[in-house]
Subunit: 224 residues, 2 copies
DNA sequence: ACGACAGTTCGATCGCGGTCGAAACATCGT
DNA sequence: ACGATGTTTCGACCGCGATCGAACTGTCGT
């Protein structure tokens, strides 16, 4: 009975249905208020508040106070990655996959993962960015090439941002089981997709649905 | 309150201290009996048995009955990956990192991850295998090159095995945050390291410690 | 066939943690 | 300054599930 890092503590935080629903909702990447999360989890406000403080204490969440609103968000991409890993196991193990409903199908095509795009579209995009040498593999890292830097600035995407987060990161896709693009660049691309109205976020879901013309535009810019 | 895959169910299975200890012990890759796991978790036999059936029902474990012994093991590398992801978060979040004890240091250098080698040594090895073009990156997959195939057969490692598992897989290292080699090849290499007595498994730990001569041999064969 | 060992099932106990209503607290609009 | 809205704290309730001892089932030795 060795004592490693307190894995049971972390897992039990995710192990409560109410908290799991909250975390799942936050996987959308947008920070939410306590009331929104209470609704999402299907519990009363006091209950939600209690759960949220536990998640905070556990280090899974960050808090941004804005006036009388308190926005909760996932603490890190690492936490998001852990949750995707758990989702992956639940998917694989669950006997629920009788028929993948339309919503699940949409999720497989394109969805939000924390703050960037995931799903088949995202995986295809990363492949093409490598093919076009806009991104380069190094070790298991991803680096922006000089041509990539100019290419993205031409699209109005700033790649100079000097946040702590890396510009490019690989993130494993639970549906496709291959990597897609995370990091500030991945986040910026998702921002552009939404800003240009090429796609919209499905209500109450992580799914991202492209409009017909939006898909064409996206494919022209990122999949050509 | 959407209903995705039952993530809370999976997480709560890992969320109990006794079960977490069991799973942690099984991360060593060797299947263990119910009594061994009871000892490992610090609970009585009936309690352990109850936990084990829950883990079985949850699909996290496999069972191999051999006479009056029943060997429990992790169900899949995916489950192992999920647990490593949780460990990663617990490590990052835990305020316990006062001083990394010697055991933790050993774990960082080399340890067992399910059935293959992880840690700094394993990450270095994968880098060198790429440099020597014995393995090739494709997409985010890893492929064995023809020279690699002959190289490994010369070492007495069969790379033709046609199991369902891929020969090569990348597995993310929680200590180094880079990938190491999993898959049947990764497992075979670990087998060889142990069989040649280059290193031994630390008692009651996932740590792998190389002997002086063993380390030289390992470096000559895999890190040269 | 018998006893020893490995493991599971049963039954009862008990405490931790999730739950909500009411009240307290904080911050905004006006 | 006041009421309205968003959020946390308090207190009490309640149930699920973790736990273990005892009994039961199954398998191996001899």
């Amino acid at each position: 009975m060795r004592e490693g890092p307190d894995i049971a503590r972390i897992a039990s935080l995710v192990g409560d249905p109410a908290r799991a629903n909250m975390l799942n909702a936050l996987m959308g990447g947008t920070a939410l208020t306590a009331s929104e999360l209470a609704l999402e989890a299907g519990v009363s406000l006091p209950t939600a508040s209690s759960h949220l403080s536990k998640l905070m204490e556990g280090g899974l969440l960050t808090l941004a106070s804005q006036g009388r609103h308190r926005y909760y968000g996932l603490a890190s991409a690492q936490v998001a990655g852990m949750i995707e890993a758990i989702i992956g196991v639940a998917e694989a193990v669950g006997p629920k996959r009788v028929r993948p409903g339309p919503r699940d199908a949409a999720m497989r095509v394109a969805r939000v993962c924390y703050d960037h795009l995931a799903g088949e579209q995202a995986v295809a995009m990363l492949d093409r960015l490598f093919d076009r040498k806009l991104l380069l593999r190094e070790d298991n890292q991803i680096r922006l090439s000089s041509s990539g830097a100019s290419h993205f600035s031409a699209l109005g995407i700033d790649t100079q941002a000097k946040a702590r987060r890396p510009v490019c990161r690989a993130c494993l896709d639970w549906s496709v089981r291959r990597s897609h693009l995370a990091g500030t660049l991945g986040a910026a691309i998702l921002d552009k997709i939404i800003a240009e109205k090429w796609a919209r976020r499905e209500k109450n879901s992580r799914a991202v649905v492209f409009s017909p013309t939006g898909r064409q535009a996206f494919e022209r810019v990122f999949l050509s």
